[in-house]
Symmetry: C2
Subunit: 417 residues, 2 copies
């Protein structure tokens, strides 16, 4: 494969060499092909995005099933979003004071997200999750936040998955429990005792390296009830799932409403934006926390978010993503069976996660992802995928053509199960 | 004044009423006129920016002397920056992997900033300062960071100026000293002892409520020497000053180079971007810290940064801002004298801070700011101002016409000194 990769990724290879000189390890964070354990044929650099497609710097085009790790929910460069952004950019983005867009977006956000009576906007998902923790501590005068062991809530010292530079004090006021495990939650609450300020949890369990798990509604209700009993805050981290499971908040279908919710990724279809939404009860205390940043009031990303929410409604995007997700799941599961390969297909239909039962260290999944890429679909072999509203039936059928070849490659390399 | 304000700020008032319903306290952070103690005639909402001017939602135009609290360094909507951003936006912004812009920008940044051998890009100044602390701790295996008492380094729990929701553990590994005070620095180093990981400091003392103070080069050299002796890291927080004092880093004129520097605000002329720059010695350890965020690889802000640095060079912007700053200082100081008012005009010429000697709680400065606004110049009465490259002699003369009327208003309200 070496020769092929070289031929079709010449510009990518040149850029990697240049990057090695001026960026630590050649690339940082979750956009490093090394950090994300992407197969060697994955490009490190992309040139453009267009609807359901992305194109790398060497001109190779792929159906995009990663959606920039979540942000792209309507497809790349959605016309209505781009038009709204262009219109605002012609007036101004980062001004000395907010534009009217912040009011319009806060109105739209609170009328869309069911539990939300107010909203504050930021730039990173980490800004939003960290802000929620700080508000919970300010509201209760207590210190301890409960979180699910291994859940990703951002890259700040209190939550980063990498230990380098993190101190014990950064997590001294965190306690952990297991997703959907009532007993471990109750034990964490008991451990927190008088200092129980709140719990932060993702809408479903999406921890890398484990089968994903939808929330048990009874478990969600236990969290809600316990927070009410203890006057602690229930914080829903909707950064990854937000607007893919339900426009009104990801736990609306199960009828459990958080006190605070953290949003980012998809709320502006790729424009840098995050949000903290809260219920009436915590409005006043939220104003006592210094939530700010140089670009938190930038108007273009807010104009983009307004257009994104409008398009999500107009296009009935949540239902369409669910349909695309079901189509994909049905197809992939059938293909695995036809190739006599045992897989786990878990998670919400719009954010599926696939593993091979026989894999010990993703070796089959790596072969699968590599072959899928060669067949024209970009999917992360060790991360959940994302559906978006540009994934028409036709696009999903193209994906399925890729996954069929990918299963064939796995079967040829490792045999059937 | 009440009637005037009402008449010229009707749309602003309507937006404030709407904001009250959906945003805690009507607005958050440093863009809240309440939080920043701006006089009542200051608009809460702006419609647009254009070169040296901003316009509020009621159509009133002002010369902008706040520059969006720093980010606008070339003037609002600088043609070359906007063109670069538009061109990149037509390809894509937030993709599944970085665009070539990240390499080009890292090359340009490291060839511009003298101490920098590598760079990592983020969204907020707080991302950059927090990242620097984490890298320093990872590099040394020690915990304690020294910082100047009262200095602003961002809005995360370890550094936010507001105490709500902050826990003792968030700052358990911070020790403080006073700017330009060698004895207090030495005492902090002694207190940190074996745990001394690094020191974070702004290029000059710009703490709200105090006269600004340029760094004593001997003090800067003491910091550098002490860090070398202790194998701790010297971190320059260039978020606010970056590119206004010197393109190569704000301590280049005094010849003291940091190990790490934090950047944001002006590096992309208002586009949301931050940077951590570092020297060779800390390249490898930087790659062990998980520095990432959903939008940290967004290509449009990087294209804007490349164009910004290009325009700063092409327009000889640093020298021009210094000239504009000197012109402003000379004019304002002369006006104060002519009105028999004693002021302190401190800070770097491109980021001046003005107080009245007789003020006890900014009452004169508030009158000053209010009158300057009515005369057509937007300047923050309780925050340093910012010069930018769009501040031509003509613009500065317009500002001086405003400040002359503002001094007159102070003189009439409070008498001379």
């Amino acid at each position: 494969m070496g020769t092929d990769v070289k031929a079709i990724h010449q510009r990518d290879a040149d850029l990697r060499r240049r990057a090695e000189r001026v960026i630590p390890a050649g690339m940082y964070g979750h956009h490093s092909v090394v950090n994300m354990h992407l197969p060697p044929n994955f490009p490190q650099f992309l040139k453009e995005g267009n609807g359901a497609y992305i194109r790398d710097v060497d001109g190779n085009e792929y159906v995009d099933l990663l959606c920039s790790y979540g942000p792209i929910i309507l497809g790349h460069r959605h016309p209505a979003v781009e038009e709204a952004a262009r219109k605002q950019a012609a007036l101004g983005d980062c001004l000395d004071a907010p534009s009217p867009r912040v009011v319009e977006l806060a109105e739209l956000f609170t009328s869309t997200v069911e539990h939300a009576d107010w909203a504050v906007f930021a730039k990173n998902g980490t800004d939003a999750t960290t802000g929620c923790l700080t508000i919970a501590r300010a509201a209760t005068g207590r210190s301890v936040i409960l979180a699910v062991r291994g859940s990703y809530h951002g890259a700040a010292p209190w939550c980063t998955p990498w230990p380098a530079g993190v101190l014990p004090q950064d997590r001294a006021n965190m306690r952990y429990f297991d997703y959907n495990d009532a007993e471990s939650f109750k034990a964490a609450v008991a451990e927190a005792g008088e200092e129980f300020a709140g719990v932060i949890i993702t809408p479903f369990k999406h921890i890398e390296g484990f089968d994903q798990e939808l929330v048990d509604p009874e478990f969600a209700r236990l969290l809600r009830r316990t927070c009410d009993d203890c006057r602690a805050l229930l914080i829903l981290d909707d950064v990854r799932c937000g607007f893919r499971m339900h426009l009104g908040g990801s736990w609306e279908p199960i009828g459990v409403r958080p006190d605070l919710s953290a949003w980012s990724k998809a709320i502006a279809n790729g424009y840098a934006l995050a949000a903290i939404a809260g219920s009436e009860k915590y409005r006043e205390v939220a104003s006592t926390v210094f939530l700010t940043g140089s670009f938190w009031f930038a108007a273009v990303s807010m104009a983009a978010a307004i257009a994104t929410i409008g398009a999500l409604r107009a296009e009935d995007a949540v239902a369409r993503m669910a349909r695309a997700g079901d189509l994909l799941k049905t197809g992939v599961v059938a293909q695995a069976g036809a190739h006599d390969l045992a897989i786990h297909y878990t998670g919400h239909p719009t954010m599926p996660y696939i593993t091979f039962e026989a894999d010990t260290d993703y070796e089959r999944m790596t072969t699968f992802g590599s072959a899928a890429l060669n067949a024209g679909t970009y999917l992360a072999p060790r991360h959940n995928w994302f559906l978006n509203a540009a994934h028409s039936d036709d696009i999903i059928n193209r994906v399925l053509a890729s996954t069929d070849r990918a299963f064939d490659a796995v079967r040829r390399a490792y045999g059937g199960d």
